[in-house]
Amino acid sequence: MRTRVVVTGMGCISAAGNNIDEFYETVFSSKTSNSIAPITSFDCQNLSTKIAAEVKNYQASAHFTPKELKQLDRFAQFALLASQEAIDDANITFNDATAKRTGVIHGTSIGGQATIEHSYQQFHLEGKTRAHPFTVPKLLPSAATSQIAMRYGIKGPSFCTSSACSSSGHAIAMATMMIRSNMIDTAIVGGAEACITQGNFYAWDSLRVLASDTCRPFSADRGGLVIGEGAGTLVLESLKSANQRGAKIYAEVTGIGMSSDAHNIVQPLCEGAELAMNLALQDASFSPDEVQYLNAHGSGTIQNDQTETQAIHRVFNEYAQRLKISSTKSSHGHVLGAGSVIESIATLIALQKQQVPPTKNFTTIDAACDLDYTVNKFINTPIQHAMCNSFAFGGLNVSLIFSAI
């Protein structure tokens, strides 16, 4: 029998709250939140997009010393805060032996974007001739992984996953496989992103996929996606390890499915999404009707929402109409490399509370999106198994299944 993998700790920081409790209050409430709001971190006068899901009430100096901040881009700060909450939550400590049987796998789509832009601004605009020596170690996409490993003395296999909006989903999948294969017993997994910056929005603007008002997944009047920032971390460990230390268990990772569209660098393909969901079900040995809740990728672009709906129909067949679905991006925005883990956390809370979080900001039915998206109001319902989808630009797909234990 294969090694069972469970979640024993959760931590997150996002526009929807700076910890798990705040995240639950925001994401599972039926009230409209102010998490998606006008951009405050830079002047967006010359850009079409003027909204984002920024982390609120955040002062880096409240969490890190000036010396630490020299080495920490904003994305790595978020990664460390989410990891601290998750590791505290799991009540886990590491000794020489367990540190070597633990890995850190933390994803990001971009990495230290603010550091890159700050450095380029100094060089190109301000005529400076020298960058701070920590510019390179700060901007590396793997910087957050290293910072987490250093802080907790974790010495097992550790690396960064980068697959755009599926980055942290791949991190969870990789860690699950590594625990199943007995390579490690415990993993600190997740993702972080902090790219609400002028240069990044300048680039995103040109893709014409960003919403101008808010994020309305599956709603006919959707305007596109809303970029968010933040981080999420899970502590994954073998069931044996969790039981041995008497850990509280949130859920089991029962299914992982990964696929590639091999189709287009931005347009999603139904078959790719369908394959990822089917592989996750197959990995879990579940029939589709055993899944009660699906946290959709639900980015709020017409291409994703309609393609994902079609893929859900193909995977779940007639049961699709009874499946509870929602996109929590309507609360926390599209957190890119951290999206999959933050949405996994929403899925795990759904299992814990037996509640489906709502797809907020929904106004108008789209004929091509004809499923139950749990619009605007959360519902209480029994959930034993729940799926979480992440479909990235370039067709890199991950579906995860979490099960109550």
């Binding site: 010396k67 020299k70 001739t129 020298r130 701070h132 020596p133 920590f134």
Partner: protein
């Protein structure tokens, strides 16, 4: 000169928990618990503070400068600042 020394000591103090005394000026950076990474940061801070450009180690050696203790830093900064003023 006094001001420069005091600024140099301020910069170095950020990177060592060892109190900087008169004797420290001849002690190796190792003795002051300043590692090579901290030294890279110190060089950056000195360049920023005095608006000078500190050459890399091989160039320094070729020009007859050492870079092993605080006295070396003081000599180097003094030389580079004077050169800039000329």
């Amino acid at each position: 000169m006094e001001n420069k020394i005091s600024t140099i000591v301020d910069i170095l103090s950020e990177y060592t928990s060892t109190p900087i005394t008169e004797q420290s000026f001849q002690e190796s950076f190792d003795t002051l618990n300043i590692d090579s990474l901290a030294l890279v940061e110190i060089i950056f801070d000195l360049e920023e503070q005095f608006d000078i450009s500190i050459p890399n180690e091989s160039e320094l050696t070729a020009k007859g400068f050492n870079f092993t203790c605080i006295n070396d830093i003081v000599d180097l900064v003094e030389s580079l600042v004077t050169k800039k003023a000329l």
